[in-house]
Symmetry: C2
């Protein structure tokens, strides 16, 4: 019972790469099988349905994000350093495209399924809620550590930071603007500075 699991993992790896280009809905079993030199039915047998394939592909992408962006940030001390690391990893994730030649799958899937009810959307919403919650937690820790002003609204700041990331991904992908990363760093730095605690405390 090992061979099956290994090919399954290979399939999902390729599925993430392909779906990041053509979208989770555009991901077809036939084209995926062709890219892997597998038969359509052989590939399909690993998943009960197309929706299962989509769900597992999305979960794999989420796990990839977790291990590349989020987990490394936990190595940094809580507060501003950790928050900065998180954002920095995130921008790198967007900028370089190791396996994700088609941009961040989670972001494109979010736009794709924001109006399509179903299990995929539910998973997407759950992941997004978790992510935003984690950002807010990092901000709260930064406030506790005295790195950010106590009057800072964590959800508001999280919203604005997320907006910067979205704009970066958009400009980088659609407009092919390589300066967007620098723009984002600029914006983040200024935003953080404007939430610094009052000097004499």
């Amino acid at each position: 019972m090992q061979k099956g699991d290994r090919t399954r993992a290979l399939i999902l790896e390729e599925a993430v790469a392909l779906a990041s280009q053509v979208g989770l809905e555009g991901l077809s079993i036939g084209s995926l099988a062709e890219r892997l030199d597998l038969s359509k039915s052989g590939l399909f047998a690993h998943f009960g349905s197309k929706e299962d394939l989509q769900l597992l592909t999305l979960k794999r992408a989420q796990a990839l994000f977790q291990e590349r962006v989020f987990s490394p940030a936990l190595d940094h001390p809580r507060g501003l350093p950790r928050l900065r690391s998180l954002l920095s990893n995130w921008l790198s994730w967007i900028g370089e495209n190791d396996d994700l030649s088609g941009g961040c799958l989670v972001l494109s899937a979010s736009a794709e399924y924001d109006d399509r009810p179903g299990a995929v959307r539910d998973l997407l919403v759950a992941g997004q809620r978790e992510l935003r919650g984690a950002i807010v937690k990092a901000i709260r820790l930064a406030i506790e550590e005295g790195h950010l002003a106590p009057r800072t609204d964590p959800w508001q700041l999280g919203f604005e930071l997320y907006g910067i990331v979205l704009a970066t991904h958009h400009d980088r992908r659609l407009l092919e603007d390589t300066r967007s990363i620098a723009r984002a760093q600029d914006a983040i730095e200024r935003l953080i500075r404007s939430h610094r605690p009052p000097a004499g405390t």
Copy 2:
């Protein structure tokens, strides 16, 4: 030569509504014909190909954006009032969903086609360039009028404002967060204030 143009307009109107839900690629001629009580071939005859239909649908959405968001802003005096009006109209466009029950088609299409070369993507990029250029122009006018600090980088500010709009659309659509509009207004106001010209001039 009138009947044809009228039904063509009706088709495109419905196409915008449908595509904003299922995406420009997910837009199928069969389902569109069914929603309009037309035959598949009858509908198809109005366009030479599916790509033409997609292009015209996107153009219609762009025109709609222009007349609902951009043009009304020109009635306001140049400078900060015009820029504020533009952003306010934009947030309303995102918040209310008159015909666009599936969110802004241009935004979802941007995520959909950011990695798919072709005429649709080209049109999308051209529209986005025009839009961002217009924002920058509005910002420049605000600087000239003395409403914003002379050291303001128009492209940087445009980038950040666009990010806020993206986050608003995202939170409103995927997370169904109605507070996102208020968050955006907050963020915009603070961002503008931080670019105010030095007091004593």
